[in-house]
């Protein structure tokens, strides 16, 4: 069953196993258009497996995944690639192409997916870099950037094709509090300025406070709590309480 029109990302009864390890045990979630859904949970709870299963980097064993009204888990590679043009994904470590400069990391995507000439692409690339406040680093290589800068370049690369939905895999892990705030505010701005719907995987409370509209708490392969951040925080589930106590 397709989800209602106002749902940008819908996951229904998603299962994923690796050998005998059942990581996702029937995940169901809906992300409304123009909202940020934050998936929280401890290490090894299956957060990254969930986000990778949604974008089909991992093939789910069972369940349905809908993105912008298209069921993506049954698509052939070419059809899936068409859907992926409307998706942006920010990886945990940035995943910048290290043989290319920062500028080329962004330009490469435009070069491959648009018919724009080099001169037409340049202002688009620079605008994206200005948006993440890194235009002066355009000609550096990823190895010359700090962790926070890499994530911001990863973010600029993810939005270069103006996606309708975004996925963030631990966007603030390993960053200092100032960088956490900077990256989180950029994520929130994307929702506010461009009406982008997002799934954010994080265990960072500060990040969740800044970006979350809805929070889903993952434990043992299932969502054990969901709602606003305050509702989840007040959940009587012991695992959720432990998580918040340890995260403080």
């Amino acid at each position: 069953m397709p989800p209602p029109d106002n749902i940008a990302i819908s996951v229904h009864d998603l299962h994923k196993s690796f050998g005998t390890v059942h990581v996702l045990k029937g995940i169901t979630m809906d992300v409304e258009e123009g909202t940020n859904a934050v998936v929280m949970g401890g290490s090894g709870s299956g957060k990254s497996v969930l986000i990778k299963s949604i974008v089909q980097l991992l093939k789910p064993d069972r369940g349905e995944v809908w993105i912008n009204g298209v069921r993506v888990d049954t698509l052939e590679d070419d059809e899936l690639d068409r859907v992926r043009l409307s998706i942006g994904y920010v990886f945990q470590g940035g995943a910048l192409f290290d043989s290319m400069s920062v500028y080329d990391n962004l330009d490469f995507i435009l070069y491959r997916h648009t018919s724009m000439r080099a001169k037409e692409r340049e202002p688009v690339v620079m605008e994206a870099l200005e948006w993440v406040r890194l235009p002066e680093h355009a000609h550096k290589y990823p190895a010359e950037l700090s962790g926070g800068q890499k994530k911001r370049v990863g973010l600029a690369r993810a939005i270069i094709l103006q996606p309708a939905v975004m996925f963030y895999d631990e966007p603030t892990t390993g960053l200092d509090p100032v960088s956490v705030r900077t990256v989180s505010e950029l994520i929130a701005r994307l929702r506010d300025d461009r009406d982008i719907s997002s799934v954010v995987i994080t265990h960072d409370l500060l990040c969740a406070e800044i970006v979350a509209d809805d929070v889903f708490f993952l434990d043992g392969g299932r969502f054990v709590a969901s709602g606003t951040l305050d509702e989840v925080r007040k959940s009587p589930i012991p695992e959720v309480g432990n998580f918040y106590r340890q995260s403080r």
């Binding site: 980097l57 992926r84 998706i87 470590g93 995943a95 192409f97």
Partner: protein, 279 residues
């Protein structure tokens, strides 16, 4: 009375040891078959996709440059050493039988038909294979391949097809280059040892070679290039873990490619003999 239980326990332990050794052997064997199956599937994926869009011409040229321009000095030095050493070692025996005049043709036959193609491919398996295995492996562990995938950039085309094609194109080119340098090495040895005229040397060398020999023996390095490209890309593409596994992938790429080059050489020589009688 007490001896029986002890001997029973010892026998049971021996049986258990034998069983666990057998299980280990089986699992090693199974792992080997699994690896071979995965490699075949990977090669089949390449064969199914290499002629399909997108054509990554720019990346293919970059990879050809990577394989060619960064390896030609290494293969030249190898070829030069082979030419000189082969000439030096053969000269004594040939002189003893009064057959010194056949040295150039013996050298050209050895170099063009077997030593040149195989040694060049082995040297390239070491340099190029390890490079590809490590580069793609590190792209896998740093999620760069996932980033290509999620950006709809078809990483198999971009990374694998281009590298395998580059190897298939550049291995024969580098082999001809190495063969020529090896012949120059042999000529240099002849000049030093017996002041041979270059026209006499090269006339004699190329008289014994047929053009078809040259084509078949050089083109078989395209198959060696395919082997090195596919094996190295497969090892890198399927790395799981971290930097340690990337190193292992690079090492396995070289070892597996080298072994498969020998195997393919034997099969192709046998096949050529059956089909063309060229050898």
């Amino acid at each position: 009375m007490s001896a029986a239980p002890t001997s029973n326990t010892a026998a049971l332990e021996r049986l258990q040891r034998r069983r666990s050794a057998k299980r280990r052997e089986n699992s090693v064997l199974l792992h080997g078959f699994e690896q071979a199956g995965e490699l075949c599937l990977f090669a089949w994926n390449f064969l199914r996709r290499w002629y399909r869009r997108p054509f990554e011409a720019r990346e293919l040229l970059r990879q050809m440059d990577e394989v060619g321009s960064k390896s030609y000095v290494l293969t030249a030095v190898t070829g030069f050493a082979i030419g000189i050493v082969l000439a030096m070692q053969s000269r004594g025996t040939l002189v003893r039988f009064g057959a010194e005049a056949v040295l150039p043709s013996m050298l050209s036959l050895s170099v063009f038909k077997e030593i040149g193609p195989v040694i060049t491919s082995l040297v390239l398996a070491g340099r190029v294979g390890a490079g590809i295995g490590a580069e793609i492996g590190s792209m896998r562990v740093t999620e760069q391949i996932d980033a290509l995938e999620v950006a709809a950039l078809k990483p198999f085309h971009y990374l694998v097809v281009t590298r395998v094609l580059a190897c298939m194109i550049m291995f024969p080119v580098l082999t001809i280059w190495t063969d020529m340098i090896a012949m120059s090495g042999g000529y240099l040895e002849s000049v030093i040892a017996s002041n041979t005229d270059y026209r006499v040397f090269f006339d004699s060398a190329f008289q014994s070679l047929r053009f078809s020999d040259l084509i078949v023996d050089t083109m078989k390095t395209s198959v060696f290039g395919f082997i090195v490209g596919i094996v190295s890309c497969h090892k890198g593409y399927n790395v799981k873990g971290g930097t340690r596994e990337v190193g292992q992938a690079a090492m396995q790429a070289v070892v597996t490619s080298s072994l498969l080059i020998f195997l393919a050489d034997v099969l192709m020589v046998r096949l050529s003999l059956m089909l063309f009688g060229l050898y």
